[in-house]
Symmetry: C2
Subunit: 146 residues, 2 copies
DNA sequence: GCTTTACCTCAAGCTTGGTTGAGGTACTAA
DNA sequence: TTAGTACCTCAACCAAGCTTGAGGTAAAGC
């Protein structure tokens, strides 16, 4: 059972994603499969954990490219162990901590800055916080140029 | 000075955004202008605060549509007061608090769940947390269907 | 054996939040 | 008056992260 091989539809069902998503992830290099004699995808069961981890990481705002890089640190030649996975978790937990801290800073500036006169100027703390960690990739950077 | 009218280029420069962004926001109904005799946009100075608020809200992960709805609560017939703006700030601060709380929950599940056996199943706390507040709009919802 | 379901590939489409470019008009400064 | 900017509109494009559809093959159930 532990070393069974899985079809794309079964993986999709178990992971709660569409088949097209699995195709997409494969094309992006996030997961791997081999083909059976009829050219259909077959998976090792650990792909489910990979998909689950991808989804978990996305939830905390990590994009697929970064997830791909992180996943690339997993061993190629053997099924990743609990320890291997935990390392990823730790990595992302740190990132998440940083994001939380950033959002707290934003929150604390929010009420005061939004009503105050500084908002469109370069002194405003809401603008001048380090936004390398910005949740949405873009949107940042812009207001510091004034 | 306080009641001066501004051209699109000057607003763009003061707010640190592109002219095209202001066109875009106007098309989306987030800001307003009128035209001079030569069909060029003219703005009241409070549009700068609007733009600034839009950018601030984006930083905390609020999408333009929600920002538009929030801005729509501002008075139409007069320049919004500090109090009006502060109401928005308070609203978003609450939203941000909820997001922070959500991310903390994710963080606490992260290390333990990622390595554990529950990750691809419906019992995993990492999946079954309320994800209405998900940072990235999509990506959520999916793993609860298993 | 036959039907239904699952799978395949490739291309095109969708959403958000803009940017870029073409072709043309208006304003400003010397 | 004449450059040189600044502005106008409209359409097309970009990136991420998928989804949808067309046209065709494989596998599974009765």
């Amino acid at each position: 059972m532990a070393e069974a091989t899985w079809s794309v539809g079964r993986i999709a069902e178990r992971c709660g994603v569409n088949v097209s998503t699995l195709h997409f992830y494969e094309k992006k290099g996030l997961i791997k499969s081999w083909r059976n004699s009829g050219n259909q995808r077959r998976y090792k069961p650990d792909v489910m954990r990979r998909v689950a981890v991808i989804k978990a990481a996305q939830k905390v705002g990590i994009d697929l490219e970064s997830i791909k890089l992180a996943i690339a640190t997993l061993p190629e030649n053997r099924t990743p162990s609990i320890k291997d996975w935990e390392k990823l978790g730790t990595l992302w937990r740190d990132e998440l901590n940083a994001k939380i801290a950033y959002m707290k800073k934003l929150r604390d500036s929010m009420t005061s800055c939004i009503g105050c006169g500084c908002l469109s100027m370069k002194k405003c703390p809401l603008y001048n916080q380090d936004d390398k960690l910005a949740i949405e990739g873009s949107g940042a950077v812009i207001l510091d140029r004034v």
